[in-house]
């Protein structure tokens, strides 16, 4: 019994190229550990600020009253659910091209968080729908495609769980992640392509914002908090995956003998 050798080390020209230095688990593991706490702290701080703006600074909406304040959770969650999926697909493509184990680990580490965001977006959207549309759920294009996104996350995780061999699990999952990425633009543009109940995009880089500045700030701060949380959660999970997958390698054994020094 001995450890499979690092595939990153076999990359042509890998030793000279700096970026690949962190492409191998044993170098990335301590880095991830160091990044962990800053991420958590940032997430907590931004979340506090964002919620403060959202609930105390932002004005009450003329038509919707206070129920609109769900927006401060709903929109960041919806954004993150799409971003995380794209990130997963990105890591899978990197993994397939460069054959780095770490990229696949990143991808599987991101999936549960992405699923969580998709679920939160669906949940808050449904709660919001009751007061505004009079129903929790309608079969509108955006809602449906967001639901599909959630199922894609579930499918990705179920597929990986069903395969024992990590290599095969990685590659099969990658296929789903990449093919499913088609869904993300559909979610984003659905409000444009079909005329639906759901709100169109009101935040855009090119046009002037159509909502109150404080609302916008609250949303953006919350979005940053969600980013920080996502990065933190992904790093935490990727560390766990690394340990679990490489538990028979020397560096993990040394880590275990080193008395759990985390960084």
């Amino acid at each position: 019994m001995s450890e499979p050798q690092s595939s990153a080390a076999r990359l042509p020209g890998a030793p000279g190229f700096n970026l690949f230095h962190y492409a191998s688990p044993q170098t990335f593991y301590p880095l991830a550990g160091r990044l962990l706490w800053p991420c958590w702290l940032l997430a907590a701080a931004l979340c506090a600020i964002g919620l403060y703006i959202g609930f105390f600074v932002a004005p009450t909406d003329a038509t919707q009253g206070d129920s609109y304040r769900i927006i401060f959770i709903h929109v960041p969650a919806a954004w993150m659910s799409m971003v995380v999926y794209l990130a997963m697909a990105f890591w899978c493509i990197v993994g397939l091209i460069f054959n780095t184990r770490l990229s696949f680990m990143m991808s599987s580490a991101l999936a549960p968080t992405g699923a969580l965001w998709a679920f939160v977006a669906l949940w808050t959207g449904a709660l919001w729908g009751k007061p505004t549309w009079g129903t929790y759920w309608v079969w509108d294009a955006r809602l449906t495609s967001e639901l599909i996104l959630f199922f894609l996350y579930c499918g990705y995780m179920a597929l990986q769980a069903a395969i024992d061999d990590p290599r095969r699990a990685d590659r099969a999952g990658a296929l789903i992640a990449i093919v499913g990425a088609v869904n993300v633009p559909i979610i984003y543009f659905s409000v444009k392509w079909w005329n639906t109940l759901h709100q169109g995009a009101s935040v855009s880089l090119t046009a002037a914002p159509t909502m109150a500045t404080t609302m916008l700030w609250g949303m953006l701060v919350m979005a940053l908090a969600a980013w920080a949380y996502t990065v933190g959660a992904a790093l935490l999970r990727v560390r766990a995956i690394m340990i679990e997958r490489e538990r028979h390698t020397d560096w993990v054994r040394q880590l275990a003998q080193g008395g759990g020094s985390r960084t």
Binding site: D140, T144, L147, L159, A162
Partner: protein, 222 residues
């Protein structure tokens, strides 16, 4: 006899545990089908509430149909079925244990998730209660009848579709009594009759299906 029942039950549950995804995905299938129908049919809430019970029942039926094919398949392929036929224990008991495990893994979760789906279709609490109760009595019947179909088509080509053809006619009464209960309740009629009939279906299939499946398996092996 009891011990072989317990062992086979435990064995099938353990096998399913090894394939956790299986249990989750059977559920996922049910969820998806019930979500697909509104998509196909159109989103008017009243119309949806009208057809909700029907859709949930059809989905449960299809979820069973889709998975019951595999009830004996793997045991046949690897030769375990031969060993079951050769066992000193009665084959019907082994079959019953397999069906129980199957229902616990596919029928029960579906009954448990049903209230959520009823919510999605905006059913009232009473209607939800009735749908779930009919599913609770009805799904074991579906599993038992499915087992007969699975045993009959074992080793035949055509598999899934052929099973559907054999078993669906038997499923129809269950479907009618089950899905009909909510409609009767809505119409202000009483639903005891439906429950009694569903119960009778369950009892009859409980008595007949294991024996019939066992017989079919013996024939399939010859």
């Amino acid at each position: 006899m009891l011990s072989v029942f317990a062992t086979v039950l435990r064995r099938d549950l353990l096998l399913a545990w090894r394939r956790r995804a299986d249990v989750l995905t059977a559920l996922g299938f049910f969820l998806l089908v019930t979500s697909l129908f509104p998509l196909g049919v159109g989103p008017e809430p009243e119309q949806l509430a009208q057809i909700a019970a029907g859709v949930m029942w059809v989905a449960a039926l299809l979820a069973t149909l889709l998975s019951v094919t595999r009830l004996f398949e793997s045991d046949e392929a690897d030769g375990t079925l031969e060993q079951m036929l050769l066992s000193v224990e009665p084959l019907a008991v082994i079959v019953l244990a397999k069906v129980c495990a199957y229902w616990l893994l596919t029928g029960l979760p579906l009954v448990l998730i049903a209230p959520l789906i009823a919510l999605q279709f905006s059913l009232s609490p009473q209607e939800t209660g009735i749908v779930c109760a009919t599913l609770l009595i009805g799904t074991p019947t579906l599993s038992l009848l499915g087992a007969v179909g699975a045993a009959l088509t074992l080793g035949l080509r055509g598999g899934g579709a052929l099973i559907a053809l054999l078993v669906l006619p038997l499923y129809v009464p269950v479907l009618i009594f089950g899905a009909g209960a909510v409609d009767r309740w809505r119409a202000g009629l009483d639903v005891d009759g439906n429950f009694a009939l569903l119960g009778a279906c369950l009892l009859v299939s409980l008595a007949v299906a294991p024996l019939a499946s066992a017989a079919a398996l013996r024939i399939a092996q010859d």
